[in-house]
Symmetry: C2
Subunit: 197 residues, 2 copies
């Protein structure tokens, strides 16, 4: 069928399904039928469902971190502008693929083993972000506060907006081009106001 290797197509399909419906609600058969193979072919590439979950989680986190790193390197020195450009950079893949964040948000439900695995993967980036915020607060470029909790709240806001499409529906938002632009700009303004000194 597709020229992309089976293993990659499995990871793609699993990311979408896990993110949309939750890991436990998705069976190996579901994933296999999307990919176009039999369940046993999944178990050929991944020894168990748990291993597949880990691989999907790993890739999702890697993609997100890569996008954010690129945005950081491309942005100027001002922390508000930097956060702004991170949000814009993350916004595109998240909107195009709402399941990406949905999966990561589901981590809390999974085995502690998966959680630990992902936490180790992201730990250095988190400490980096925290010390960066701390430093910018100290020199007056950001509102004072606990850098860890501030980061968590920004993350919670972006993740919630990016994943809870149902939430946006209930407040009358429509996902056309204009709506997307409006959502992105409102999100930027919200975070800018929340973080400004």
């Amino acid at each position: 069928m597709g020229s992309t290797p089976t293993r990659e197509r499995i990871l793609d399909a699993a990311l979408d399904l896990f993110g949309a419906r939750g890991v436990d609600a998705v069976s190996l058969d579901d994933i296999a039928s999307v990919v176009g193979v039999r369940k046993q072919s999944l178990l050929y590439w991944f020894a168990s469902k748990a291993e597949l979950v880990n691989a999907v989680l790993d890739r999702a986190a890697f993609e997100l971190v890569a996008v954010m790193d690129a945005a950081i390197r491309a942005s100027g020195p001002d922390p508000l502008d930097r956060i702004d450009s991170i949000v814009c950079a993350v916004f595109r893949p998240v909107v195009r693929r709402p399941t990406l964040l949905g999966l990561i948000r589901e981590v809390g439900r999974l085995d502690p083993h998966h959680v630990r695995h992902l936490a180790e993967r992201l730990a250095p980036h988190i400490t980096d972000a925290r010390s960066y915020l701390e430093q910018q607060m100290a020199c007056g470029s950001l509102r004072m506060g606990d850098p860890g909790l501030i980061a968590a709240m920004v993350y919670a806001t972006v993740t919630g907006i990016g994943t809870d499409r149902q939430l946006l529906d209930t407040v009358g938002w429509v996902p056309d081009a204009a709506g997307l632009r409006q959502l992105r700009d409102q999100l930027r303004a919200f975070l800018r106001a929340a973080l400004a000194p």
Copy 2:
């Protein structure tokens, strides 16, 4: 066993389990074993799992709305103070029972039928909140912006912080008494800054 009627104990246990692990990942046997009865006794009180889900969702939404309504009635006229007191009021039950918000957040994953049911239940409160925000923006008491999206972002922030305990762990937060106070105050400051004109 307990003096509380079986039906209530079922709803309690189901709320905790659904919120913690997700609806699909929790079996009727899981709930029954927590309650201390057999699965068939659940099906005596609720005709099906779907009906149980609906009842749990209904009660969770009702509890939250009641808490928020009480906070609104007890607060002064200034919108920032009002939102402040809502956050404080919601904070207590959410922290004591993180599964409460977790369940509501899971709605997006459930059947459209459940979603519609809950949306109808909450619709009047949402429109109320939106028109209130609109009015306060018009008279300069709140930062200008799309009231629906602003409300959604506040909700996303609070919900994310209230449910993703894993997220708070990774930024080094500890859930003792001092940590709770700190978290609540940081959240209040964050939202106040984000909404102030």
